[in-house]
Subunit: 459 residues, 2 copies
């Protein structure tokens, strides 16, 4: 335990080495890794974080930043004797200004708390996703979180007005100070967003807040042909800026219905379903939506549709989409989170379906995702006759197929889940050798001794 | 001319050394520099740009990228034997997709052409500013252009979905491929936006396009107290997301009126004026605006207001703001383009006014700017009795006052005009020594031989 003398002197009981803590904080939601951290630290101030990084540089320790550990790519896993730095005790609201519509919070604040604090002040923090109750603001910055409102509000990056970070060299930086306009050189704030803890630790974040959206309408469409899903989106965009535009395949719907909690509102079965949520910014927007449906039905683009008549019904329509992930869990699905241009989604899905059907005829493929921004979640279900291990080995080869096609479409091999430990071997699918070399060069500038999150992103 | 053998072999007559061309392309709108380029190049393809950078690396030449040369900080000036690379012959539309709402253009396309091409396709490119008819897309990326719609639509950075660049080392990078979601490592696209040509040359840009805004209402308020201008903004934000929110002082209005083209719509004189433009997204928004005015008048916040009753009247109200810059030109104003948090604008302006009145009682200060996003244009007018040179020397000392206060407010010493040659000595006002050192480190990664835009930004 000699290696922890300085850290224990700094943090006392907040430098933990008990087995439970090491196990818990050594992992994120990625369940493929074996946790093996040397210690878990719980700093309470930015000065402590800075001192931790200095000690790590001096004593040859490596650090893994830890937020809510809801990541799906192993970005917060500590598997090789690293020291985990949990930001969870740094979770205070530091500042709020109604005129500037800015809120500054410590990195360990839970996303849902941030959303709540904004609401209490008559404003709105729009980035939202299923892990809102556990994920933390610093982790959202590290991964550049996305979710269900990206179509309207963009990614987490678009809401970061300022960052306080400690670099891998132990320097404290105040980036952009929450300014709207500041053209004074390279935007290091944007460099940190999405850097997955490889350049330094985020200690505080200044976030932009928005006017709360008006009451919203939710509509579900039955769309026999995938290509027509994009027609539905185009039609809606003529009179509204949709808050969300999601899709799922009939195979996905069947999995959700099999659980017995919610059921399709339609009599028949159709190839695909599109869910659109729009702001009721004008009183006649529902009417325009129904007119759009009539037109689309007349053209044979959509076969059926429902407009939620109550909040409860809207929630039930959303559950048809949001429950997919949980519903397929028993089938230990092989997941990929990819993106192509929205216009290319139908061609991409058709091509991949054909490829998978030919190479793996026994595999069932469930499609769903944020189709409005080109983000597709591909889930291959394990055939009951295959063991989990045999299935996983088969899927390693499926990966090659999927990523080969992603590269051909100039797509992203990780749309919103990041690269982390799990996808680091596949970085070249979406980034050129020249880009990867430049990323390594940048990493060396911020973290010359390689202290920060080793093995992640650019392993 | 020996130094140009390789470049002449590559480009023939498109490698120019005649005096007129050297003079014209050696300068931007910053008129303080003496142009002295070695040559001016007009590449027509990305391959030629790449070859130019390779030659520069091999033969020890330095390159200055050149767009519309409308910059105000000398970022495109060539004063020390550099080779200017004009992108103006690379100005084609390369791709458009209505579903993705993306347009890819070469870097030399003029901003207004881009706006027009979007309009012709039923879409809208929202970043807009006075130099729209000359500025080019590549230059807008280099400077991260702002303008009059930032409050609603953000900076140029927010509309860049993809970039093709040639780094200072001569590598061709395709950054982000126009994807909405792509969490695969450091966002080099955002690093290039605002890098002022110091990391490489932008050859093509993929831009996001928006739904065209509805018809808009324009209202001008007379506001006796500066602090109350922010109250007007807050009130409007309760029912609308303003497209623009501008302010100017009575001294600024007087300068515009003195030219005799447009006149104040108000009987009396007031300290400040606020111009708000809002989208008529609902039929009753004008009514809400008038109700807001009645409330503000009742509270004594505003003294008077007009709502434009026609497009022509709206244009005339806008001219009261937009003509300021031209109106004060005969007084050779000393200009600064700074930003603080919007909430701090009143305190900042009051403090700077007091400081300037004490130190320079003979100087007249004209204030105007995009107050909704905290961006202030401070213009000190030359007293008639001072020569231009004596005035400029005095203003070098004014700079110290202004920038000292900007630093105290954690503001930006260049909100939208960039750093370039002119403001490079003041970079430390807005960026810490650690940040500047990191910027130098990044520069060395992308441009190891220092080929790109020497002396600019981080001189």
């Amino acid at each position: 335990m000699n290696r922890l003398v300085s850290l224990t002197a700094l943090l006392g009981e907040r430098c933990c080495t008990d087995a439970d803590t090491l196990q818990r904080y050594g992992l994120d939601w990625t369940r493929f890794c074996q946790p093996a951290p040397l210690a878990v630290l719980f700093p309470q101030t930015q000065e402590e974080v800075q001192e931790i990084v200095r000690i790590a540089n001096r004593e040859g320790l490596q650090l893994v930043p830890s937020g809510g550990r809801t990541g799906l790519s192993g970005g917060a896993c500590a598997t090789a004797g690293e020291v985990v730095v949990s930001l969870e005790r740094m979770n205070r609201l530091l500042a709020f200004d109604a005129t500037d519509r800015l809120m500054t919070v410590e990195a360990g604040m839970v996303t849902e708390t941030l959303q709540q604090l904004a609401r209490e002040r008559g404003l709105y923090f729009p980035v939202d996703f299923a892990s809102r109750g556990s994920s933390q603001v610093g982790g959202n910055v590290a991964i550049n979180a996305g979710g269900i409102r990206v179509l309207r509000y963009g990614m987490f990056r678009d809401w970061v007005a300022g960052l306080t970070v400690v670099t891998g060299a132990g320097e404290l930086l105040q980036l952009n100070h929450g300014l709207v306009k500041n053209n004074t050189g390279y935007d290091l704030r944007h460099l940190f967003v999405g850097s997955e803890g490889t350049l330094g630790l985020v200690t505080a974040v200044t976030l932009k807040l928005a006017r709360p959206p008006a009451d919203s309408g939710v509509m579900l469409f039955a769309v026999p042909q995938l290509a027509d899903v994009m027609t539905v989106l185009a039609r809606f965009r003529q009179f509204a800026d949709p808050l969300a535009f999601e899709f799922f395949s009939d195979a996905a719907l069947a999995q959700v219905e099999a659980r017995g909690h919610v059921a399709s509102p339609f009599e028949g079965r159709y190839g695909y379903y599109a869910l659109v949520e729009y702001e009721r910014i004008t009183p006649d927007v529902d009417e325009m939506a129904l007119t759009a449906f009539a037109g689309l039905a007349g053209e044979g683009v959509v076969a059926d549709a429902v407009l939620a008549q109550s909040d409860e019904q809207a929630r039930r329509l959303w559950r048809l989409r949001e429950d997919i992930s949980e519903s397929i869990t028993p089938r230990t699905p092989y997941k990929n989170d990819i993106a192509v241009h929205p216009s290319q989604v139908p061609a991409f899905v058709a091509e991949l379906d054909t490829l998978l059907a030919r190479e793996y005829p026994g595999f069932e493929v469930v499609w769903f995702g944020h189709i409005g921004d080109g983000n597709l979640h591909v889930n291959v279900l394990r055939p009951p006759e295959l063991t989990v291990e045999a299935f996983r080995q088969a899927c390693e080869r499926v990966n090659a197929l999927v990523f080969g096609l992603v590269a051909a479409y100039n797509g992203s091999m990780s749309a919103e889940h990041g690269v982390g430990l799990l996808k680091a071997p596949y970085l070249a699918v979406s980034r050129s050798p020249e880009e990867i070399a430049l990323m390594r060069g940048i990493k060396a500038v911020f973290d010359p001794r390689g202290v920060m999150n080793p093995g992640k992103l650019i392993a």
